[in-house]
């Protein structure tokens, strides 16, 4: 199978090429096709590039074993990406649970009763000068990291993994209204954290 044919093949065809003939080029094509979505989601979840590398590798090793029949959880009836993301999400949650980092930000502090998100000001200018691209990247990553875990997860699944809200609801086992609500709060909170004069970040 030529490289051109591989790149135009569907996920299912690549899976068959690997499962039947052990074609490693098919697996490379499959991994490279979805690497941004899966890695972006993992990095956003664990926030550490080195850990994201490990989890990315672990995710696809589980995928490979499943495709070789050692862990038969892929039925070829659904989207390949959705299945991979389910494995990636479980791997990320396992990692975060062991480090006890999957804890929501307290809605209200114990002392003054003012919630964390209530303290954020809307449209408050955080920087006085235009941010270059690296600054934008750093700012955005930092802002996403500050989101409550449930909101961050939906945002990452929509913007990094490019799942629909219906797929997100199925993956996270919530109603579609809950998924939409989390996305709404994620965007509004992100907007609160957004620098007023951040060039290129405004619509």
């Amino acid at each position: 199978m030529s490289v051109q044919v591989l790149s135009s093949s569907t996920d299912e065809q690549l899976i068959v090429a690997y499962a039947q003939r052990g074609d490693e080029r098919a697996i490379r094509t499959l991994v490279e096709r979805h690497q941004d979505r899966v890695y972006g989601f993992l990095l956003g979840m664990v926030k550490d590039p080195s850990t994201a590398d490990d989890l990315f590798q672990e995710t696809f090793l589980r995928v490979l074993k499943a495709l070789q029949g050692q862990r038969a959880s892929y039925t070829q009836q659904g989207r390949f990406l959705g299945w991979v993301l389910r494995i990636a999400r479980n791997a990320a949650l396992d990692h975060l649970r062991t480090r006890k980092r999957w804890q929501d930000v307290e809605a209200h502090s114990d002392q003054d009763g003012i919630g964390y998100w209530d303290q954020l000001t809307d449209d408050a200018p955080l920087v006085d000068q235009e941010m270059d691209q690296e600054d934008q990247r750093t700012w955005l990553r930092g802002a996403i990291d500050k989101l409550p875990p449930e909101q961050r997860e939906v945002l990452l699944l929509r913007h990094e993994a490019e799942l629909t809200f219906r797929e997100i609801a199925a993956l996270t086992d919530v109603s579609i209204n809950t998924a939409l609500g989390r996305m709404r709060y994620a965007l509004l909170n992100l907007k609160k954290l957004m620098p007023a004069d951040a060039a290129g970040l405004r619509a």
Binding site: Q20, R21, Q35, G40, F56, Q57, L61, L64, G200, A203
Partner: protein, 206 residues
């Protein structure tokens, strides 16, 4: 569904059936302000730089894939190719088979109607000098007469002795472990096919 959630559906171009038109929603000043805020945050997310895993990570996965493919038990490459025939193609195959059967019936039946009987004489004539079937039978050596049991009058081969001998032979083979007769049949795919000398599935022949 809440109007605020309907805004999210419009923002991501995923409106469900019961969502009001965006223009109608934006007539409310509060909703219009929220939509503007949501759009600003989404714009920043849409224009962010995507992260990508290092090439060494992808290479490690591919190496592991090659290793797993080599060591996997019963590599599928030795089996007949997976059938990916679609329902449409199956339907086409069935249709072709039916058409062929119909064509054969149409060709054969009139011929049978036109030639209701073929006598040996006519066959001999038609064979253009070939010997008729009766003459071939007569040329065969006479069959040995079947011995019959004196008391029952049944043929000797039906007396049961041969059957008993065969049964004893089977029992001795089973006792020797030559084969496990009681085990269910093993599918062809289960036979060892790792080497070139092994069984080659018909589907993999070129």
């Amino acid at each position: 569904m809440d109007k605020e959630l309907q805004l999210i559906e419009h923002l991501y171009d995923e409106p469900s059936g019961d969502v009001r038109p965006l223009r109608e929603l934006l007539e409310d000043p509060e909703l219009a302000a929220e939509y503007q805020a949501l759009s600003g945050a989404k714009f920043a997310l849409d224009h962010r730089v995507r992260a990508r895993p290092p090439a060494r990570v992808v290479n490690a996965i591919v190496r592991e894939a090659a290793s797993l493919a080599q060591t996997a038990p019963g590599r599928r490459s030795d089996r007949a190719p997976m059938r990916l025939m679609t329902f449409k193609k199956r339907g086409l195959g069935v249709g072709l088979a039916l058409a062929a059967a119909l064509a054969l019936t149409v060709m054969v039946n009139p011929w049978n109607l036109l030639t209701p009987s073929l006598s040996p004489a006519s066959m001999a004539d038609a064979a253009d000098g070939a010997a008729p079937a009766e003459s071939l039978l007569q040329a065969l050596p006479p069959a040995a007469p079947i011995a019959r049991h004196a008391a029952t009058g049944m043929p000797e081969w039906d007396s049961g002795d041969d059957l008993r001998r065969l049964s004893r032979r089977i029992q001795s083979l089973q006792a020797a472990g030559v084969d496990q007769w009681d085990e269910p049949a093993v599918p062809l795919e289960m036979l060892p096919t790792g080497s070139v000398r092994g069984v080659t599935p018909a589907g993999s022949r070129r």
